[in-house]
Amino acid sequence: MAAGFLSSEFVHNYKRNASAIAGSLILVVFALIVVAGPLMVWQNPYDIAQLDLMDAFKPPMWLEGGEARFPFGTDGQGRDVLAGVLYGTRVSVLIGLSAMAMSCVIGTTLGLLAGFYGGRLDAVIMRIADIQLSFPSMLIALFLMSAFGTGIDKVLISLTAVGWVVYARTVRGSTLSEVQKEYIQAARVAGLRDGKIIRRHILPNVMTPLIVVATVQVGTFILIEASLSFLGVGVPITEPSLGLLIKNGFDVLFSGLWWTSVFPGIVIMALVFGINLFGDFLRDELNPRLK
């Protein structure tokens, strides 16, 4: 099975696609950061006892006044910027992935039901989706966050409320075309329950486009979360994500203390860039129309 995959067209094309390789290398680095980030730095930026206000606003080590203890400088609380970024990346990536998983499960379920049963259920689900799509997702997330208050769980709920629509629409469309096919009729004729037909026969056949949607959506979610946090309605200040780090540094950006904002900014850009590079490759590979 593994040997078959390694010699597949997918792997062959991957090896010849420079941007796909670049994208996946970036993602591997970020995966390492998420798994082992805290082990790479000496300071835990969330532990107030480890912070010293005397260390506040130290510049990066290669500038005058910089120290090797803080390679990328410190922020106003004496937090190591590098440590903050590594911890913040974890928060951002985990929020992006969890919100994607939740949207995917909810959106796919609703899309399958709408496509399979049609009728009133379909109409209700899809009209809700249509209405939601007529608002910018940022606006909806902002509205929900200001209603719920800050917190990682609330960010997840807001992102899921924004994100399920894409899956529901994609899955409903594929389901409608799968249901027409004779193997679904054959499953009904065999006496299978609707639930089993949906899970065993339709779901596997509508999954492929979802991989692409899901990959790109992680990047989108990371950006939305960063924007929410930047606006002060995202994650709590005690566990800053990349967006909140940018915001914290932004207040002092024009005083010449640029490093507190710019480094988390570069990291979030690299992360989303890597996701999109790899997502584009997946889209081209998994789209039967481009084959």
Binding site: E182, Y183, A186, A187, V189, A190, L192, R200, N205
Partner: protein
């Protein structure tokens, strides 16, 4: 219209004893589709009966309601379609009155179906073995080893070699004809009493058609299964079926034993269908065809639906719908049926 290769003659036809209660009796079935642009009476008062082990040909042009009959029997008519009237007696139980749960017990186990296009009637993502196993899991108490043995036995009986290896193959690894063999194997797995075959050879190569038909007939006869063969191809039916029911615009226009109907059709429509079979013995510059097309089933003409295409139509045909006249084992719905002298 493709010519159907002749099967080698099976004579005498192994027709089971024509006694005992019918396995399936459809009485006055009406399945209508209530669409925005009008009610489509796809099946409008269809009756026929089938004894255990018999093969019945259900014949008609595209859009004649043949497939809807099959799906009505299985209770798989989706809105806007509805069974308006009639009884579907299977072993004495009226399927039209059963709940969805009760129907699920019958589907697959008692009544199976073979579809037209073997390219789409298997799930592309599951192995053949898994799709066969699913049927047995639903309808038998066999354990995993028993189910596997049954699957292998069944694949071998439809002429697939190295059956044990082939269980782990995916549908795309089979050719069209092989897939249809698999589909037939799945249909026969739970030893159903009735198989509904909906145009089972239409999507296949002409050279494969004869093989598949032969295979189906052998499976049917070996297992004592009855079959409804839904097709537009009268040539196929004449080789396979014990008796024929001809549908036109949702109504039965003629019914009777195959040989008898082919030799002396009573309804001009049946006659037209027979005449449009290419006959290598009588080469002709043009194939005979029935003039005109099937009328819009939402706006059927007054009187007989076939009158505009009929060479015998008279004034009466435009006024009254002909009733189905039953004479012994024959029946026809025509005001001016063909008699012996009119036939070839």
């Amino acid at each position: 219209m493709t010519a159907t290769p002749a099967l080698e003659a099976v004579s005498p036809k192994e027709i089971p004893a024509k006694t005992g209660a019918p396995l399936l009796a459809v009485e006055g079935l009406r399945t209508w589709f209530h669409t925005f642009s009008g009610t489509v009476k796809a099946v409008d008062g269809v009756s026929f009966a089938l004894r255990p082990g018999e093969i019945m040909g259900l014949v008609g042009e595209s859009g004649g309601g043949k497939s809807v009959v099959g799906f009505s029997i299985l209770g798989l008519i989706d809105p806007p379609g509805r069974i308006e009237d009639g009884r579907i007696l299977f072993e004495g139980r009226n399927l039209a009155g059963l709940s969805e749960a009760e129907l699920r017990q019958i589907r697959g186990r008692d009544i199976a179906m073979v579809f037209q296009d073997p390219m789409t009637s298997l799930n592309p993502l599951h192995t053949v073995g898994r799709q066969m196993d699913e049927m047995l899991q639903l309808h038998t108490d066999l354990d995993a080893a028993g189910r596997r043995a049954r699957c292998i036995e069944m694949l071998e009986s439809v002429g697939i070699s190295r059956a044990a290896d082939r269980l782990s193959a995916y549908p795309h690894q089979f050719s069209g004809g092989m897939r249809q063999r698999v589909v037939i194997a799945i249909a026969m797995l739970a030893r159903p009493k009735l198989v509904i075959a909906d145009e089972p050879t239409t999507a296949l190569d002409v050279t494969i058609q004869a093989q598949i038909l032969k295979l189906m007939r052998r499976q049917i006869r070996d297992n004592g299964t009855a079959m409804i063969l839904v097709t537009h191809d009268l040539a196929v039916v004449s080789e396979m079926a014990d008796h024929i029911t001809v549908l036109y615009c949702g109504k039965v226009v003629e019914r009777g034993p195959t040989d008898d109907v082919i030799r002396r059709p009573a309804h001009p429509y049946t006659r037209g269908l027979i005449d449009s079979i290419p006959d290598p013995a009588h080469r002709q510059p043009r194939l005979k065809q029935i003039p005109g097309a099937v009328p819009d089933i939402r706006k059927l003409p007054k009187g007989c639906s076939f009158k505009d295409r009929c060479f015998r139509a008279e004034a009466l045909c435009g006024e009254r719908v002909p009733e189905l006249v039953v004479q012994g084992d024959r029946a026809h719905a025509c005001h001016y049926p063909l008699t012996e002298g009119d036939s070839r």
